[in-house]
């Protein structure tokens, strides 16, 4: 059943992105940034975590998850470390994703020649 909900929820997020692209004529950068912000706001209301439990990868794979992770890390650190945690926590959860992007980009650049 989780596969079905992952498909439905993940697909729905992508449909929203596609509509922003085609109907609202947003650029890919604006579309992506807006989805990140939406994910952050949804987590601010404590609603993203339940969505992840419900739809699994359907909620964690789309870019909204990145916004969720930014806010989630900041709020967790706020609880544990006090106000300084808002700053130090932002990249706590997302560091794996950010580091992976840098490391794998580097590895890819060793074997292919990017032309831009």
């Amino acid at each position: 059943m989780i596969f079905l909900w992952a498909f439905v929820v993940g697909g729905a997020i992508c449909v929203i992105g596609q509509l922003m692209f085609d109907v609202l004529k947003l650029t890919p950068a604006h579309t992506m940034a807006t989805l990140v912000v939406i994910g952050a706001i949804v987590d601010g209301f404590n609603l993203y975590e339940p969505l992840v439990k419900f739809a699994g990868a359907g909620a964690t794979v789309p870019i909204t998850s990145f916004g969720n992770a930014l806010v989630h890390g900041a709020l967790t650190e706020l609880r544990d470390q006090g106000w300084i945690g808002v700053i130090s926590g932002i990249f706590k959860v997302t560091s794996a994703g950010v580091s992976a992007a840098i490391i794998f980009s580097f590895l890819a650049s060793l074997v292919v020649r990017p032309k831009g």
Binding site: F21, K25, P28, R113, P114, K115, G116
Partner: protein
């Protein structure tokens, strides 16, 4: 000689004594494949960067055009060229290889006719015996500069256009065999407030319409005087808009054949090029390749090429500015007896 408000009349009848076109794989797969002098099977053409590949296109087109005019590059007195790259590097770097005195021009995709008009003016005024006009574009350099990195794989709406990978060049002289450049109408910059860079055809259509009407007003000609009128790269969205606007203004475009280079260079229904071709190379390869050959074969008597250009920069677009557009028209006659 100025005729009317914005048309140069070349009374000494400069002749295009040689021309050449070099294209990439998608153009070589299109309906005009047989009309090009060289088709590169790979987009990178064995070069290290897309920019180097675009430069190679320009260098080869210039070299082949000079060869077809049976001249040596030392005999070319001026090269008038331009392209879409920042600081028109493709043409300037190609001019470095050519070693001829160089006039760099920018008119976005209208550069093909802008450079031809200027080269004709130079030859017509006897300021040179031989002048070379040429321009180029590459799909990947344009994507990279104006849109997104080529590896990014960004989606495009169906109104978007596909930049032609190709270069075209022509050698002008007062003596010799070949099609004659009769006159050129220099366009005004038009801006109707369109801000969508994925709908260039619609943005450029009013500029084409204005230049075509100015051309007829200045010269006293009508569409009937031309066997073919082509716009540069309005493609499947912009070309019908231009046709409608002209008919609405009472220009009898039904008396001639009115086509668009962006729809001629590709098979739009088969090739994945969205609305059709665009770029400096689009009108250049269709004109210097296909149309000049048809003029030389006697299939066409007189044509009008209206190259359209969108004068935006990535910066102006990011700052939310609308897209100013321009069109330049050049009338080319076969130089042979008209059949009609």
């Amino acid at each position: 000689m100025l005729r009317g408000k914005q048309t140069w009349w070349f009374e000494n009848r400069p002749v295009i004594i040689g021309s050449a076109t070099v294209v990439g794989p998608d153009e070589g797969d299109g309906p005009l494949a047989d009309e090009f002098d060289l088709v590169h099977p790979e987009l990178d053409m064995g070069q290290k960067s897309w920019e180097k590949a675009e430069r190679l296109l320009m260098e080869q087109a210039a070299e082949f055009a000079i060869q077809s005019a049976k001249l040596d590059s030392k005999q070319i007195q001026f090269f008038v060229g331009g392209d879409l790259m920042n600081q028109i590097i493709s043409s300037s770097f190609a001019a470095r290889s050519l070693g001829t005195p160089y006039i760099g021009v920018f008119g976005a995709c209208s550069t093909s006719m802008e450079s031809l008009a200027l080269a004709s003016l130079i030859v017509n005024s006897r300021s040179a015996d031989y002048a070379l006009a040429g321009t180029c574009s590459h799909n990947c350099t344009a994507e990279k500069q104006f849109r997104y990195p080529t590896e990014y794989g960004s989606q495009k709406p169906p109104t978007a256009q596909f930049t032609v990978t190709g270069a075209g060049a022509g050698v002008l002289a007062l003596e010799g065999e070949g099609p004659v450049v009769e006159c050129a109408t220099i366009g005004k910059v038009m801006d109707l407030g369109i801000t969508d860079p994925f709908n260039m055809g619609a943005a450029m259509a009013p500029a084409a319409v204005d230049t075509i009407q100015s051309h007829f007003n200045d010269t006293g000609r009508t569409p009937r005087d031309y066997d073919l009128i082509v716009t540069g790269d309005l493609a499947s969205v912009g070309h019908p808009i231009a046709t409608d606007l002209l008919l609405k203004d009472g220009v009898p475009m039904n008396e001639t054949i009115f086509k668009d280079c962006g729809l001629m260079v590709y098979d739009v229904s088969r090739q994945k090029v969205q609305a059709g071709g665009s770029g400096c190379g689009c009108s250049a390869v269709v004109t210097y390749g296909h149309l000049l050959k048809r003029l030389n074969r006697g299939e066409l008597g007189r044509i009008l090429v209206v190259a359209t250009g969108a004068l935006l920069s990535p910066l102006s677009y990011q700052q939310g500015e609308s897209i100013p557009c321009i069109a330049h028209a050049v009338a080319i006659d076969s130089g042979k007896e008209r059949k009609k």
